[in-house]
């Protein structure tokens, strides 16, 4: 049937209306992706919450620079030893307003480099803070192998520079949590006038000479036994990570290297006992109902690292 011109136009209009509706529907369903993408793009959105409230304290690392220890308001070491829990006299009186800038990072990384096996030389890295205006600061570090000195300071006013020494504790008794044959990640929180700055502090620790590159299968087999132990208890998630051990699988690897490197704590700690202890440590549960979570004091005497000593189980840990 021949169509007249008005019908043709009506059909064209309807077709275009359909196309337009489809386009609008697409935009509505996708929720304007361009705008949302721009908001969530990390490179275009600075962490405004920290930058806008950040004092001018630009942390920068200067590896070659020796610490001068010129921190007048720092509580002396002898007093700290006498009163380790007492706060330093961080008095606000006479403190100037801090100078705020937008270039201070909220996160940074300070690498401690590489620690060779059984290297007893003190490993220290200096870390310089440029302080502007009145700044009161504290440094918190974890795990215990990472020890910043000083860990609290005051810059009453004007521009000041503070050198902080990042020291490595590797006392054999407590071991301070350093694991062999892996990158150990220390963590520091710097509080400047209440604003927190996050620092990752990696340190590569060489493993024992008895563990070579071709021993990977042995190490991974032992690690898998720990994973299987946790899985059998329905706690495989603790092997991936927990608030206490964010990368628990890597902790298991470090302990496996330690155990195999000794070797097997001089054949005095059975493999099943070892995997059970590590599984309990990672999940914080008492699987064998011996009233203890993780490594027992006698295991430490056999060769297990002192810092891994467990604790008595409570009723909720079972």
């Amino acid at each position: 049937m021949p169509l007249n011109s008005s019908t043709k136009i009506r059909r064209k209009v309807r077709a275009w209306a359909g196309f337009g509706a489809a386009l609008l529907a697409l935009v509505a369903i996708l929720g304007l992706p361009g705008a949302i993408q721009a908001q969530s793009d990390p490179t275009t959105t600075p962490p405004t919450a920290t930058i806008s409230t950040t004092p001018q304290a630009t942390p920068s690392t200067q590896p070659g620079q020796a610490p001068d220890g010129a921190t007048s308001d720092y509580l002396s070491e002898s007093l700290r030893l006498l009163f380790p829990a007492a706060p330093a006299s961080l008095d606000w009186n006479g403190l100037q307003e801090p100078i705020f800038t937008s270039d201070t990072p909220a996160f940074d990384m300070v690498s401690l480099g590489l620690l060779k096996f059984e290297d007893s030389r003190p490993l220290t890295k200096t870390f310089t803070l440029n302080l502007g205006g009145g700044v009161r600061g504290r440094l918190f570090a974890t795990p215990p192998w990472l020890s910043p000195v000083p860990d609290r300071f005051v810059n009453p006013g004007g521009n000041g520079q503070l050198n902080i020494s990042l020291n490595l504790r590797q006392d054999p008794g407590q071991g301070a949590g350093l694991l062999p044959a892996q990158t150990n990640w220390g963590h520091m929180l710097l509080s400047l006038n209440g604003v927190m700055f996050d620092y990752a502090v990696p340190l590569i620790a060489e493993g024992p000479p008895t563990i070579k590159t071709e021993d990977g299968d042995k190490v991974f087999a032992l690690q898998k036994e720990i994973a299987d132990r946790l899985d059998s208890q329905g706690d495989l998630d603790a092997f991936i990570g927990s608030p206490r051990y964010p990368n628990a699988s890597q902790i298991a690897l470090g302990l496996a290297v330690d155990y195999l490197g000794e070797p097997e704590y001089n054949q005095r700690l059975a493999r099943t006992d070892f995997t059970g202890r590590v599984a309990e440590m990672l999940s914080q549960k008492d699987y064998n109902h011996d009233g203890w979570i993780g490594f027992r004091p006698e295991d430490i005497l056999l060769g297990a690292p002192g810092w891994a000593l467990g604790q008595p189980a409570t009723k909720t840990d079972k």
Binding site: A21, L26, A28, L30, M109, A181, W185, A200, Q250
Partner: protein
């Protein structure tokens, strides 16, 4: 913006209903609705579907080759919010230099342990230092399953 989106939504619904209930264009309308409903699924399916071990392998290869810019693309969104691309590149380059590492070889990447949207991939690398010393490192990556696929959590601890 919210008002604009609501208005668009409303207009679209009217237009679609008209299209569906018009007997001449019923089929076309239904096809359009099916297509629109399927499109988001299709777009999701276009994300990175690689398993965690493959993503970890790619990440490690980038780190091995000092291709930190590419490695950054494989970080989880939270990790990318924490550290900028330039900072990541700069700090890892510096860390490698300060540790005196001249070469990294990937020895093994283990099958992952997966629980829900979290995975852990253990691996072994051998690093060579400036004094030609070779040392094995046994480490693990934590990965999160995101809309764009499995992504690496950094820093690892």
């Amino acid at each position: 913006m919210r008002f604009f989106r609501l208005l668009l939504n409303y207009l679209c619904k009217i237009a679609l209903l008209k299209l569906i209930f018009n007997p001449r264009q019923k089929l076309a309308g239904l096809a359009l609705v099916a297509g629109l409903l399927g499109l988001p699924l299709l777009l999701t399916a276009c994300g990175d579907t690689a398993p965690p071990a493959d993503v970890a392998q790619r990440y490690l290869e980038n780190i091995r080759d000092s291709a930190y810019t590419s490695a950054y693309d494989l970080l989880s969104s939270d990790s990318q919010l924490k550290v900028s691309r330039s900072q990541f590149v700069d700090r890892l380059t510096r860390a490698r230099t300060e540790a005196g590492i001249t070469r990294t070889d990937i020895v093994k990447v283990q099958p992952p342990n997966i629980v829900g949207k979290r995975a852990s991939v253990a691996y072994e690398v051998e690093v060579t230092t400036q004094d030609n010393r070779k040392m094995p490192l046994f480490e693990s990556l934590v990965l999160l399953q995101q809309d764009n696929g499995w992504r690496v959590v950094w820093p690892p601890q």
